[in-house]
């Protein structure tokens, strides 16, 4: 059976964002379907006691997570901006990676491993673009956190974001990686178009993400006396929590609550700002991050999930999770979100960053909570990990027939 090497910029247990969850779920399902998966990841701040020296510049650690073997590397001279890191590339042979397919879940830090395996051993490469990092290291936000539409081959990065001229060579390397992959996969049409719009024309496959339903417990829906809005995600500017808090405070309804589940260092300026913004309002609670096994409890407590992102949200997993739990989503009308959330059908949308528009939506729900029931009845269960894995199974088999 085929061995698949997943390459991802960060991984469990240290990091647990959407891309890591996608990688883990896919690897586990591939394993169930008879594949032999392994994850190669990067550790930005390694605990020296756990790592061993591989070369002068590269440290390595082997461990298992949820039954998946993981190899974590760290380079002393790696650069987060660069696409290909030579120090890790030189260590590929010493890592003794045995695989039939390389699957890049996120190219940051680890793209050079894929290039080395492709060039030297001719191993096919599948690349899933879960965000816009390949185009822009700042996630298509300029220095003022305004939306940008693309790097213009690096010229715009120099002009607007004050990058050095090195950014142009990064752009060329990114394009090289994009062209080198045997299959480029994206989760949403929006992401596909984002790359095409920047002149990166090639056939991309759209494989929407799936959800692992093994822990999903859809609660019986009882009409609650109080409307509880939920936020789940990183507390960072581009996730737009400030928009939600501002809007929520403008709706002075005692039957409303806002529960914020998110992780961010308490020393972060943004976190402090949002906290200060929310503090006078006793209806808002900051509940911090939670373990995945608590997800059913968290979702049971939420009437509707809000995704107030202010950047090009590619295809948020939290949106799919919410729908899997039959909880309607109120989301910014941006990025890949409108491909799933149809305003007034299975959720409500508002203009990104527009506090008044979000106020309108919240007020609408507060005045007529029966809307939620209507939205819930229209929710179609989002795709499962098994469905997503079958798509990838066909891709792998096409590249490496049995």
């Amino acid at each position: 059976m085929m061995k698949v090497l997943f390459l991802v910029h960060q991984f469990f247990p240290k990091s647990y964002m959407g891309t890591e969850r996608f990688t883990l779920d896919l690897a586990k399902q591939a394993q169930r379907m008879g594949y032999n998966p392994r994850v190669l990841t990067y550790d930005r701040s390694p605990d020296r006691k756990q790592f061993e020296k591989l070369t002068d510049n590269v440290l390595v650690r082997h461990y298992r997570y949820a039954g998946i073997p993981v190899t974590a590397v760290h380079s002393r001279i790696a650069d987060a901006i660069e696409i290909f890191d030579h120090s890790v590339a030189t260590a590929v042979d010493m890592l003794k990676l045995d695989c039939d397919i390389v699957h890049i879940s996120h190219p940051m830090w680890v793209a050079s491993v894929a290039r080395a395996l492709k060039q030297v051993r001719g191993i096919p490469v599948v690349m899933t673009l879960t965000d816009s990092w390949l185009l822009c290291p700042r996630g298509l936000l300029d220095l003022g956190c305004r939306l940008c539409n693309g790097p213009e081959a690096g010229a715009r990065c120099i002009r607007c974001c004050r990058f050095s001229s090195k950014i142009k060579s990064r752009y060329e390397d990114a394009k090289t990686l994009f062209d080198m992959a045997d299959e480029v996969v994206v989760a949403s049409r929006f992401v596909a178009n984002l790359f095409i719009q920047n002149g990166w024309n090639r056939k991309t496959r759209i494989v929407p993400h799936g959800i692992d339903y093994s822990n999903v417990q859809v609660a019986e829906c009882h009409e609650r006396s109080r409307l509880t809005l939920g936020f789940i995600g990183s507390i960072a500017w581009h996730k737009g929590l400030h928009v939600l808090v501002k809007a929520f405070r403008k709706v002075p309804d005692d039957d409303l609550r806002l529960r914020i589940h998110g992780s961010e260092s308490e020393s972060s300026d943004y976190y402090r700002e949002v906290l200060a913004l929310a503090r006078p309002d006793s209806r808002i609670s900051f509940l911090g991050p939670f373990q995945i096994d608590r997800l059913p409890d968290v979702m049971r407590d939420i009437s509707a999930l809000v995704i107030p992102s202010t950047y090009y949200e590619p295809y948020p997993l939290v949106m799919l999770i919410s729908l899997a739990y039959n909880v309607p989503v109120i989301a910014s009308n941006i990025g890949g979100i409108p491909e799933v959330i149809r305003d007034g059908i299975n959720g409500l949308t508002f203009e990104p960053g527009n506090v008044d528009d979000l106020v309108r939506v919240i007020r609408q729900l507060a005045d007529r909570p029966q809307i939620l029931q209507m939205l819930r009845s229209n929710i179609t269960a989002p795709r499962r990990t098994e469905e997503e894995a079958l798509d990838y199974d066909n891709i792998y088999r096409n590249l490496k027939p049995a």
Binding site: G34, H86, R146, N193, I196, P208, Y213
Partner: protein, 836 residues
């Protein structure tokens, strides 16, 4: 030139058919070359060539001699091809090695260059650091100077503020006096017009126009003062027109649109904008009020003037908009349809420099990302941008764009409409029959996925409900027909036949209520398979383990497809099915009712057998193949389906499976080989012995922490414990209470008291073979045991349960065939056959 006579091509079909006939008549060849049953004849021809060349003595050598030349030639050709492939592979490896050397050399030189560059950068950075240090010293000095300056300015500012307050008081009184003067002057002016001013006016001036001039005159006096009024009036009187002209507009950049404050009826906007109600203006006739330009707007991208510009299917509308009183919203319309508001407030220092007097110029940028759904390669669209000021003034820019759609291929089951796939609708109406008794929690997932199938004609969904629960609420939601039958009426074959008779489609599909289609194109691909050849009667799709499937469930599915040699989509048939070995028979006839489909007419002709408690699908498949029909087996599409069963379920399920397959596939030989224990008591003692050994092995594994997580060490430990030798009896204290209870029930039915077995136990060898299969799966999919130690123990116990079921079934079949079935054996059979 060669003078060797080459075999003629017409020989091929005769030679192959003779070889295939021989293959179908010889079980040793079927066992040795199972792939030949699915069309891969390479090894079989090699065998034939060896045989005719006398390198292998065989009873059928003479039969093959007639086509000896062809076999030898084909085998040589195959060998030559194999050698060529090997040579090419070696060449490829050599080239790869060469490429690797080049790559490493290149890498080395890049690293050297990198090192050099870094050294230069370091030196440069050091220089910059020194310069920065000097600059810091300078800035610190500057800072102290500025601080001193700031203090002086603060004092000055405070004094100015006091002075400003005094002036403001004076201004207030002056303003009041001025208002009085203006009021009296306005009265005087009206009278003046009535009596004297007619001589200043051009001929034909109407009364209403005079009023307008009066109003404008009053406005100028109020706004700009008397001096300005007289100046304007004098100029206009000199040129014979007293109407006050617009104030001059600032020079606008090309492409800029300026709009005045106007009534809605005069504005060309989309339907959303026309509903805007203007604020009341100060003067009674707003249409006559002349004001300066309210909104300036420009669209930078895409250019909307001139020829339509080409854009990709996802493009940005970008520009800037300014107004004295602020801009409230910018909306974008594509083909007259609103796409919503654009993001505003983006920084535009260039606009601020050009229009310094506009308060919002600094942050006047706007942007909207527009996505156009796919269609033809190039589509033309109208694009309109409408800006609305805080005072409800409007400005509009319109133009055309040409959208160039790029090649984006939506893969199967993508959430988005795959237009190409939709266009290729598979011919024939499908009817899907879902049998259910107690629908599982995610039953609606099954129905949702069936409802959302793409690339087919409208599907008919029929739910045959044999349970107590009322499912009528699903009827409207999924356009499904609900057929109710009483629970006691359910029968695997008859109920399916009933569903097929009730259906109206060209094809009938069966799917179990706990199977979820894993692809939006499941039915389309199955129909395409059936459409590919009229002799394909049925088609089946693979099962994919659920995400909560345990190790045993995953391994069972993996082993099932490996045993059937199903790795890709295929169409199978056999002209001589009954001569094939059981495994190949099953591989060829397997139609899996978890997800299967048939031509309706053929299904109604052949029907599922009634009274078949298990494997009704395999039974039908065998009858179809015997009638020279074919079966499609798809591996690229499938359904999500697996079960986490208890060990005791595996005992019973395997027992029933073996019995059923024995009848269908005629596996007498295996039964005779494996069921020849002298008595049931002896068999139970042997089972007890295996259980004891497994218990001790598990204890040992736990004590050694699974040999430190080593897979090989763990399985060697199990092997050691299954070898001959006395093992202490554990009294059926298996790690699974469920299996222990089931076995105790078996012992109780048989009324057998276990005795410790001595000597060789053949069941240990058979169980070891099962463990070896499990091990090969585990080592192929897991590189270690960390995190799956206890699931591994659970799987071993389930594996043991399955083996116990197999042994008991073989013994039952052996007794039945040798007419030695006792009342106890029949009682045991009833216990093992229930609740499966």
């Amino acid at each position: 030139m060669s003078n060797v006579a080459l075999p003629h091509e017409p020989d091929r079909s005769s030679a192959v058919s003779r070889l295939v006939r021989l293959y179908e008549s010889r079980k040793d060849l079927q066992t040795k070359y199972p792939e030949a049953a699915f069309g891969d004849l390479e090894n079989l021809i090699g065998w034939a060539a060896d045989t005719v060349l006398k390198s292998r003595k065989d009873r059928d050598a003479r039969t093959l001699n007639a086509y000896a030349a062809w076999y030898v030639h084909s085998a040589s050709k195959q060998e030559l091809e194999a050698r060529t492939t090997e040579l090419e592979s070696a060449r490829g490896q050599l080239e790869a090695t060469h490429a690797r050397i080049l790559y490493l050399e290149d890498l080395k030189s890049k690293l050297e260059n990198n090192l050099e560059a870094r050294t230069t950068e370091l030196e440069s950075a050091r220089g910059q650091l020194e310069a920065t240090h000097a600059r810091i010293l300078y800035l610190e000095d500057l800072k102290s100077k500025l601080e001193n300056n700031l203090e002086a300015r603060t004092t000055e500012l405070r004094e100015l503020a006091d002075e400003r307050e005094v002036i403001a008081n004076r201004l207030h009184y002056t303003q009041a006096e001025l208002d009085d003067i203006k009021a009296s002057f306005g009265f005087w002016l009206t009278r003046f017009y009535g009596s004297r001013l007619d001589r200043f006016l051009p001929g034909g001036t109407r009364r209403g126009e005079i009023k307008r001039i009066v109003a404008n005159g009053a406005r100028i006096i109020v706004k700009d003062g008397l001096r300005r009024f007289f100046s304007v009036a004098w100029q206009k009187a000199r040129i014979g027109n007293l109407a006050v002209q617009r104030e001059p507009s600032p020079e606008l950049p090309s492409g800029v649109v300026a709009r005045d404050s106007v009534r809605p009826s005069t504005v060309e906007t989309g339907p959303q904008i026309s509903a805007v109600t203007p604020k009341p203006v100060i003067f009674p006739e707003p249409s006559t009020v002349e004001t300066g330009p309210q909104i300036l707007m420009k669209c930078d991208r895409p250019p909307l003037s001139g020829e339509p510009s080409g854009v990709s299917s996802c493009f940005v509308v970008e520009g800037w908009v300014i107004a004295q009183e602020g801009v409230s919203e910018v909306k974008v319309f594509l083909d007259g349809k609103s796409l919503g508001s654009a993001s505003m407030g983006l920084s535009r220092p260039d606009v601020a420099r050009a229009f310094p007097t506009f308060p919002n110029a600094e942050r006047s940028g706007f942007m909207k990302l527009v996505t156009v759904e796919g269609g033809a390669e190039r589509t033309r669209h109208s694009l309109k941008i409408v800006a609305e000021g805080q005072n409800h003034a409007l400005a509009t820019i319109e133009g055309r764009v040409v959208v160039e759609h790029s090649p984006v291929e939506a893969i199967r089951t993508a959430d988005h409409a795959d237009k190409d796939a939709q266009l290729e609708v598979a011919r024939g109406k499908p009817s899907v029959v879902v049998l259910t008794e107690n629908p599982p929690a995610d039953f609606e997932h099954t129905l949702q996925r069936l409802r959302d199938q793409q690339g087919i004609e409208e599907a008919e969904i029929i739910i045959v409900n044999s349970g107590e629960e009322d499912l009528s609420h699903l009827s409207g939601k999924y356009q499904a027909r609900i057929l109710r039958i009483r629970p006691e009426e359910f029968e695997h074959g008859a109920t399916r036949n009933f569903g097929a008779q009730e259906s109206t489609g060209d094809y009938v599909f069966f799917i179990t209520d706990d199977a979820i289609p894993a692809s939006r194109y499941l039915l389309r691909d199955m129909i395409r398979c059936l459409n590919g050849d009229e002799t394909i009667a049925g088609v089946t799709a693979r099962q994919i383990p659920r995400s909560d499937a345990d190790l045993m469930a995953c391994q069972a599915i993996w082993w099932h497809y490996r045993m059937l040699e199903l790795r890709k989509d295929r169409v199978v048939w056999s002209a001589n099915l009954d001569n094939l070995i059981p495994r190949l028979k099953r591989g060829i006839c397997q139609v899996d009712d978890v997800c299967s489909g048939f031509r309706r007419d053929l299904l109604l002709e052949h029907k599922f057998a009634i009274g078949q408690r298990y494997a009704e699908d395999l039974e039908l498949g065998m009858r179809l193949v015997r009638r020279n029909l074919k079966i499609g087996q798809l591996f690229s599409v499938g359904v999500i389906h697996s079960h986490n069963r208890s060990p005791s379920y595996y005992v019973k399920r395997t027992y029933v499976d073996i019995k059923t397959l024995s009848r269908l596939l005629r596996t007498e030989k295996e039964e005779l080989d494996q069921g020849s224990a002298s008595s049931l008591g002896t068999l139970l003692d042997a089972i007890q012995d295996v259980c004891d050994r497994v218990c001790v092995a598990i204890d040992h594994l736990r004590a050694s922490e699974f040999c430190g997580g080593d897979v090989d060490g763990t399985f060697e430990t199990i092997r050691e414990h299954l070898k001959d030798g006395i093992v202490p009896a554990t009294g059926l204290k298996l790690p699974s209470q469920d299996l222990s209870s089931a076995l105790k029930e078996v012992f109780s039915i048989v009324a057998h008291t276990p005795t410790q077995r001595k000597g060789h136990n053949p069941l240990c060898v058979q169980f070891q073979a099962s463990v070896d299969v499990f091990r090969s799966w585990l080592t192929e999919t897991h590189e270690g045991l960390e995190g799956i130690e206890e699931p591994l123990i659970e799987s071993l116990v389930k594996l043991l349960g399955a083996e116990i079921g197999r042994w008991l079934a073989h013994h039952y079949l052996y007794c039945r065939r040798s007419r030695r079935l006792t009342a106890t054996m029949k009682k045991l059979d009833r216990f093992l056959s229930e609740d499966v």
